[in-house]
């Protein structure tokens, strides 16, 4: 059963990774991806909005899909919402398995898929007071489409 969290608070990578290995000796590899807020074009902050209820359901569905495709011993998806500053983490995905290829592939799948399949929206706030909604990128759709079928 995957661990899925949507929260304003930052997350603790080491603690999350430790949960996946704790008390077990059948985990051969843990792949982790952390998405961070960049300061492109003078961004002062990102504000993450989401659809409470649907977001958790979407993430649980994505995680269950990963668990059905790869023989995982566990996986974790944590996505922050609210105001996030440059350099801060936004999202954490972890996948653990007996074998490294399953862990690595499931981790890539989870981050690609949640970029296009979970209801989050990013607004950029600039130092000059301006703001802009981030537009969806064709490259994200293409990355998610790799895993289709």
């Amino acid at each position: 059963m995957a661990r899925v969290l949507v929260q304003e608070a930052c997350f603790d990578l080491a603690a999350e990774q430790a949960r996946l290995g704790e008390g077990r000796v059948d985990v051969g590899g843990i792949a982790a991806f952390t998405g961070l807020c960049r300061a492109d074009d003078g961004i002062a902050a990102l504000v993450l909005e989401h659809y409470p209820g649907m977001t958790e359901r979407a993430l649980e569905k994505i995680a269950a899909e990963a668990e059905s495709r790869w023989p995982l011993t566990g996986c974790t998806v944590i996505h922050r919402v609210g105001r996030i500053l440059p350099g801060e983490p936004i999202v954490l995905v972890l996948a653990a398995s007996r074998h490294r290829s399953a862990a690595l592939e499931a981790c890539a799948f989870l981050i690609d898929w949640l970029k296009t399949g979970a209801p989050f929206w990013k607004r950029e706030e600039f130092a000059d007071g301006g703001e802009r909604w981030v537009e969806a990128r064709a490259s994200d759709d293409a990355a998610a489409a790799r895993w289709a079928g």
Binding site: H79, I90, I111, A118, W121
Partner: protein
């Protein structure tokens, strides 16, 4: 039915959510969008960009031809940009 708006759709409409009765002449998501566009200048501004709006019915992504019932929760928003 419950209608929810997110991101710039919410900003343009000027509301996060509203409740209404499903009009008798609205059969699907696309029909509801046309109906909502007539409710206020804000709604009109948001739904003028109908092709850039995605929808969810009862918290599942849905196509414009998805049929609607009066108890549904329907959300409108731009393409998602999480991760």
């Amino acid at each position: 039915m419950q209608i929810l708006y997110f991101a710039w759709v919410r900003q343009k409409v000027g509301l996060g959510q509203e409740t209404l009765e499903l009009p008798g002449d609205v059969a699907d998501v696309a029909g509801l969008m046309r109906h909502l566009a007539g409710r206020s200048p804000g709604h009109a501004a948001a739904f003028a960009q109908a092709k850039q709006i995605r929808a969810a019915v009862n918290q599942e992504f849905c196509a414009p031809n998805h049929p609607l019932r009066n108890g549904d929760e329907v959300a409108f928003f731009p393409p998602v940009t999480g991760g």
